[in-house]
Amino acid sequence: MKIVAVTSCPTGIAHTYMAAEALEEAGRAGGHEIDVETQGAAGAATLADEVIGAADVVILAADVEVRNRERFAGKPTVTVSVKRAINDAVGVVAEAVRLAAAGPSDRPEVIRTEPAAKLPAGAGTGTQVRGWLMTGVSYLIPFVAAGGILIALSFMIGGYEIVGVKADIPGFLDSFSVFSGHDWAGLMFILGDGIFGTFLLPVLAGFIAYAIADRPGLAPGFVAGWAAGVIGAGFLGAIVGGLTGGLIALAIARIKVPSAVRGVMPVVVIPLFASLINGFLMLVVVGKPIATVTDGLNNWLSSLAGGSLILLGIILGLMMAFDMGGPVNKVAYAFAVTGLAEAATSASSTQLQVMATVMAAGMVPPLALALATVVRPGLFSRAERENGKAAWLLGASFITEGAIPFAAGDPLRVIPSIMAGSALTGGLVMAFGNELRAPHGGVWVFGLVTDWPLYVVAVAAGTALAAALVILLKAGTRSKDEAVLEAQEDAQLFATA
């Protein structure tokens, strides 16, 4: 009998290899040919396609999700915990042999996608959803870090006016000089802005769907992320679309189909129909209400501008932090920038105060989370702690998106905390009466802010409040399952890095 096996465990340094050795020994002792792929930290000798093709039966001994599981589609498969493979390899091999002897698999198993093996037994739906979100976030972080730092550097080198290069990219590239600091800054801005505009939402939604439904989930997830951008639904829209995309793909995968079709299900049928259905949901069903909400918020803000400035500051703060680049945030930011254009032709300073408020409130979320990862590293996954380092620079540069990985991974605790912090900062800036004429730039334009020391106080106060709230909420209400989940996510992420 020809057996292939994959072993995999959270840390990837011990059980993976013990199980591999035990299975190899047991297989050979039973007179079988056995090849084991160890998906551990010391590199994986990947099973060749011919070897998988020739195998009679597959053993998956894993406590974390097996990578590229769809390679084994249609093969009789024994799934066990990695510990069981170590403790009772002979029994596991015997089970595999029995299963193979019983004939080809008649289960409609294209992929077994429930991350059941990944979560501790009895984990609730909430924990499971968090697991999916965290997978999405772990793929998102490199994009946020690369894009955000490029934009921050471009501001540092080229000043906030560097955003002008976006207006005519071909023209800018035509006259690009490698000896010009300004041109390099422009290039960095174009790249960073391109990464943010093109990839953030699709990568987040795509990999949330991937966590749910494996590779067949990628297309419907990416489509949903792109659609979230088109309808202006921001990262919260991308999360929703990623979840629906994955669940739709999973539902289609569970439909029983004739064996002739089974082979093309994961590659063609599931991505096709799931993308269509999910794209329809996002663009048509979700799109309209978002547009309505955006219009409503716009009118409401305009009506507030005549009233209490401190109240307006608090509301702008809440809006900036709520969805970080999503529709609510965009309304607040557009409100400020539009006001700035008007202020250029009038003597009114209210618009300049609004701009100062919006920038300060937008700096708070990444700064607060960066601070929280330093104060209480144990409450964050390793991926989040790494992201926290970049978040200092992103927050300082008014790139609110730096907080998205934290918010997307744990929205219910993070979003209310940063909203409170940004609201405090917004109210304080209005109370202090700071004014700003630049539409962007963070600390790099602090020189242009009136009474800037007070402005720093406002940002620091909101940052401290938001960080304290995040820590309190996480420390007080985080379940053990979630901590386990984070550790496993890290183990997988950094073992494969």
Binding site: E21, E25, A42, D63, N87, G378, A487, F494, A495
Partner: protein, 150 residues
């Protein structure tokens, strides 16, 4: 790269109230040998792994382990506990305890030696030889002979 284990990393008469105390004792050896920069960070990382699922295995072995940024090179500290220490295995306490310390990040080449060690741990002959080792240098010799990166 230095050896996976030295005589200073062996305790043939390990006695501890529970697995946490046993793990701490072995971690202190790793720390004293200068292979771990921050004992508390390392212990927290091991603890986090242990909480996911106890690392006790049938046949009387416990393998607390972690990849930790406080660890400077792949290291194993070995303890033999005549009285046994419960590591959560279904068939009773562990008598052979291996604290496996892996550095975090970096390439995977230097982790090969830990993979080789893990593979030896499932062999009864290896466990038996450790049970019968007379002193720490016996243990170190055994590791040198048996744990070979292929």
């Amino acid at each position: 790269m230095s050896d996976l284990i030295t005589t200073a990393l062996v305790d043939l008469d390990l006695s501890a109230a529970d697995k946490d105390a046993a793990t701490r004792r072995l971690a202190e050896l790793v720390h004293a040998e200068g292979r771990c920069t921050d004992l508390d960070v390392f212990l927290a990382d091991v603890q986090a792994r242990e909480q996911q699922m106890p690392t006790g295995l049938e046949g009387g072995i416990g393998i607390p382990h972690a990849r930790s940024k406080s660890v400077t090179e792949p290291t194993v500290a070995f303890g033999r506990a005549p009285a046994g220490i419960d590591f959560g295995a279904s068939d009773g306490p562990a008598h052979l305890i291996f604290l496996i310390a892996a550095p975090d990040g970096g390439g995977d080449a230097h982790l090969q030696v830990l993979a080789a060690l893990a593979r030896r741990l499932v062999h009864a002959s290896f466990k038996e030889a450790l049970m019968n080792a007379n002193d720490a240098s016996d243990v170190v010799d055994l590791f040198k002979r048996e744990v070979v990166v292929k």
